[in-house]
């Protein structure tokens, strides 16, 4: 045994210490959530002292348990726990929320023990599902994932995606600890202290459930012991607690959310004063993480002039990459025959994760798996990636390395209509911190960019097309993130296009040539980072630019071009989708939007004419 036998008295004292330190940290900061910390202090004391198996001196040990605070606002408790484990000292605890401190208002991975950022409720548990999936199916290690959840966040749909996926995948290495303190920010939750209602819901979702008094260290000990023994399904510990427990002025009182205590010194005295207990946290167990076999595989390539959908190139390239690299994994939102991630599933079934129609869980699952160093590619229709936008936003704060593939971009999908058309995705993903946004126009570009994405830090997004486009990029040509290519030479006007509009732009350039206008077509397959050098050259040499994209006018290619040229501007005419499309053929819809060859040629002509 690497840890002492349970000592209830020690644990009760430790719980009080965690409360005192939560009060102290929040008082020092002048803000924070001490009362939400105090409700879960006993739950965390018992976890730290005997159940969590984590070597705080080796945060990268693959055998470590994972502790995720889905209720990230209980950060004072989390940091107090780190102090009790000896990971940080008391002086650092008191830097909470101060400039330059690692102890931010809500936990982020600037701390080496913190897997992911939390603070947007309902995300920690779905991410924990991802880590637990990695433990079971990828690493194949016995580590356990402990997730502290608030009861307010049980109202978030993403929690129920997580509950369903956890039981469907028989994640008996996952324990959700639900801190039912009853009080949200302004009022009681919908369920209140009705533990049985929480429990019935979770049982119906396939979980083993335990209802306990979350302030009774012996009940907590028994519950953790039970969870550790349980096989075949995840366990939820539904703990009745009191917000602000231990300090009369705030205990179970409304209006005490998210603020430091008015009288911290009195509260600390009421809690029995400061303590300096430290916990010898249990060592992790298990061997080396599993590695998947690799082999030789060429990236797919196509001959010039072939008609291939970039979504198919995505699937084929990802499959080849999966053969080359054992760390590459794929997730899909039950549209794998549309995104073509089905090719990966067929070739590498052990590394494919079916996430069904649960896009939030898909992104959270990918975030969880990359915590353990896996290289996830997650795909669905680009329109439906917007469902998980908050998860992608938070993934950036988690410093996650994620690759997203969104298919069926724009009006060019045709008959399915606007609900299935991504027309805001470029804007949305450009505005993710540190992101990469790619939109290849042909299969050879797509294949090379998929390979580049595997080594890309941060969140990268590749936008693929439903329909086939002509292969214009030689397989031997260097395609790189940040690059572009000239698809048609010219110097009277430049047309900057991406994806399906490249084909239209080239056709427009050919038509313009017969009218004596020499148009340069730039295939801007990398929208962020953008090839500013090529754009500046085009601006200098052509004097005016038409941008054309199958996207709303805001935040997409056109805005990216304008930004790149902000310091040395030339007139830019932005072509984009400006009216709500309906259902029709791709050609009809491109024409309606004025982003087909005719629309582009007309815009270029008008621009050239104005400049004469």
């Amino acid at each position: 045994m690497s840890y002492r036998d349970p000592d209830p008295k020690f644990r009760r004292e430790l719980g009080q210490q965690l409360r005192v330190d939560s009060v102290r940290a929040s008082a020092a900061a002048g803000s924070g959530h001490p009362t939400s910390s105090m409700s879960a202090a006993d739950l965390m004391a018992v976890l730290l002292d005997g159940h969590l198996r984590l070597d705080f001196s080796k945060p990268d040990d693959p055998r470590n348990d994972h502790l995720i605070f889905s209720k990230g606002h209980a950060s004072p408790l989390y940091y107090s726990l780190l102090k009790a484990a000896g990971a940080i000292d008391d002086a650092e605890l008191l830097t909470f929320r101060k400039h330059g401190s690692r102890l931010e208002g809500h936990p982020t991975p600037v701390l080496p023990w913190t897997d992911v950022a939390t603070g947007s409720l309902g995300q920690g548990l779905p991410i924990a599902v991802g880590v637990a999936l990695a433990g079971k199916r990828l690493d194949r290690l016995p580590y356990r994932v402990w997730c502290l959840c608030g009861d307010s966040e049980m109202a978030e749909g993403s929690m129920w995606e997580a509950f369903e996926h956890a039981s469907f995948n028989e994640l008996d290495n996952l324990v959700a600890i639900i801190d039912v303190n009853r009080l949200g920010q302004t009022r009681e939750t919908m369920v209140g202290w009705n533990l049985e209602r929480h429990s019935a819901r979770l049982r119906a979702f396939g979980w083993h459930t335990l209802e306990i008094d979350g302030h009774d260290v012996e009940e907590i000990e028994a519950a953790y012991g039970d969870a550790e023994q349980k096989t075949g399904c995840p366990t939820a510990i539904i703990a009745r607690t009191k917000k602000g427990k231990g300090v009369k002025a705030v205990e179970d009182q409304p209006g005490k959310h998210g603020k430091p205590l008015d009288e911290p010194e009195e509260a600390i005295a009421e809690l029995g004063g400061e303590r300096d207990l430290s916990v010898q946290v249990a060592e992790p167990e298990g061997g080396e993480p599993h590695h998947f076999e690799t082999g030789a595989a060429e990236l797919p390539s196509w001959d010039l002039g072939e008609q291939v959908a970039t979504r198919l190139a995505y699937g084929e390239a990802l499959t080849a990459l999966g053969t080359r690299r054992g760390d590459v994994i794929a997730l899909d939102g039950e549209v794998s025959n549309s995104t073509h991630s089905e090719l990966f599933r067929e070739a590498h079934p052990d590394r494919y994760f079916e996430m069904f129609i649960a896009e939030q869980q898909m992104i959270a699952g990918a975030v969880g798996m990359q915590v353990r160093g896996w290289v996830p590619f997650a795909s669905t229709f680009a329109a439906f990636l917007t469902r998980a936008y908050d998860f992608v936003r938070m993934a950036a704060i988690s410093r996650a390395n994620l690759r997203l593939s969104g298919s069926h971009a724009g009006v060019s999908i045709g008959e399915d209509g606007p609900s299935q058309m991504a027309l805001e995705d470029i804007a949305a993903f450009r505005a993710i911190h540190g992101s990469t946004v790619l939109h290849p126009s042909d299969a050879n570009q797509a294949a090379q960019l998929v390979a580049e994405m595997a080594d890309r830090e941060g969140i990268s997004f590749i936008r693929t097309l439903r329909g086939k486009t002509t292969v214009r990029t030689p397989a031997s040509e260097d395609v790189r993130i940040g690059g572009s290519r000239v698809a048609h030479e010219g110097d009277d006007v430049a047309i900057v296009a991406c994806g399906v509009t490249v084909e239209e732009a080239v056709e427009a350039a050919e038509a313009l040539a017969s009218d004596g206008i020499s148009a340069r077509v730039i295939d801007c397959y990398s929208i962020k980072p953008i090839d500013a050098e090529a754009l500046h050259a085009a601006a200098r040499e052509c004097g005016a630019i038409v941008t054309v994209e199958d996207h709303w006018p805001e935040g997409g290619l056109g805005d990216a071009v304008l930004e790149a040229l902000a310091d040395a501007p030339v007139p830019v005419r932005k072509l984009a989708v400006r009216e709500m499309p309906g259902s029709a053929t791709p050609d009809e819809l491109l024409a309606d939007a004025g982003i087909d060859a005719a629309g582009i040629a007309a815009a270029a002509q008008a621009l050239v004419r104005e400049r004469v």
Copy 2:
């Protein structure tokens, strides 16, 4: 009785007609989802013939029942139903998915009987909850909301937000019909045909449930009758069905999703051939919709120089608006003491809807209520509105009139850290079709803009600040959507700011003045539409522009300014948040990002110097 007694034979025939017409429409289109339509045909036949109370000749009759296809891809069935009800004719049915047709790939409100667009799964039911809430608490009419759900979409978390809110609000006017055909796009769902598992989950969520054979018209009849009698909670009819029911080649077969039948003529023959049954749909019942009393109220205003948070101005203005107008309602995601919608709740408790930590349900609820002409304002932290981005995207396709208020924008919130900071919201909402994006810098602006939003079509978003700013706009000054104001006169360089950066920009301009540089500060409180005229004047008269925003560099104010000047460009320097912030005071974080007065002054100085 306005409708005939149940005739099972007629209903069975009607079911077959709906199948045949679904096959025909999809065959004519060459695409579509006939098999997903065929599974629910009997369910819809019985609904149309005797239970739905809807005057198709008066789609705006407030007493009408509402029928929402949450599984929007079953549009062939929906349109076949419209034909059987006499709302459209057979010729129009066969225009399905063709250019210019109202019968789009997925239903949209270009059809007068269609409340909202569906096609992004998991949205129809949460919207139905909104309509049902309107029926109970606002209109106070006996209309019923029938929502056809797919079983694949049961994996979407948003469904569980809806299930919880429906029972919490005792919506016995809501019936969810779950078409459990077992097969998703590529495989069986996680639950398959385990009706009892679906049922147990729904019961745990407080619903009355009925498990039936979805192809037995007598069982269906009994279930609808039961649902109509049930009081105190919503009813879910969990119907075991077969995808592609009635045609051997596709019935309960994998790989038959989302495509027309290979042999439509044979399938039609197998289904008994074409029919031309029409249904006399039951008349709606009930009286006039409820109206709330109104009274006189002045919009709040503040004196110049007062320090007021724009979020407080939002709450006060909304409350005054609610007094003036009985149609204004408010929803909040359990942060009403942060967004200040609590003021509205206190003044108008009957028109306030607490949506708890369920942002998707909040937006869907607002969409559902505006279906009935109510004027919803939905508020939470702007960062958490991203949770519902797909719902906002779809709301635009629904032609919904929605007003969103996002508080706690940008790094200026300070200590809470990046998870709570909206830094991508302007980009995200600019890229919503037909949207309006507002970011007032002071309380007087905020109050006037809130009033303007009430009459604004489409989706409007107001971004408010956590901290106080100085009132600079006289209460008497005209503040309008599409407007701007000059906060400091000058003509050497223009500084375009919004929200918290206006204060910093004015301070910078004052500092620059002492260095002999005359800077014009434009307070660009309306980002979309933007005041292009004022920007062109600034470009002409000042020659160079600095933009400054508390937002990531992509898709925000800077990009909006560049777009406005695309045809007559001048050098623009974009100041924005470029590194991931941590926790610190607002002033420290503004300085870190280089968007404080010092950063702005330095940028403006550099720009002026370069131009000399």
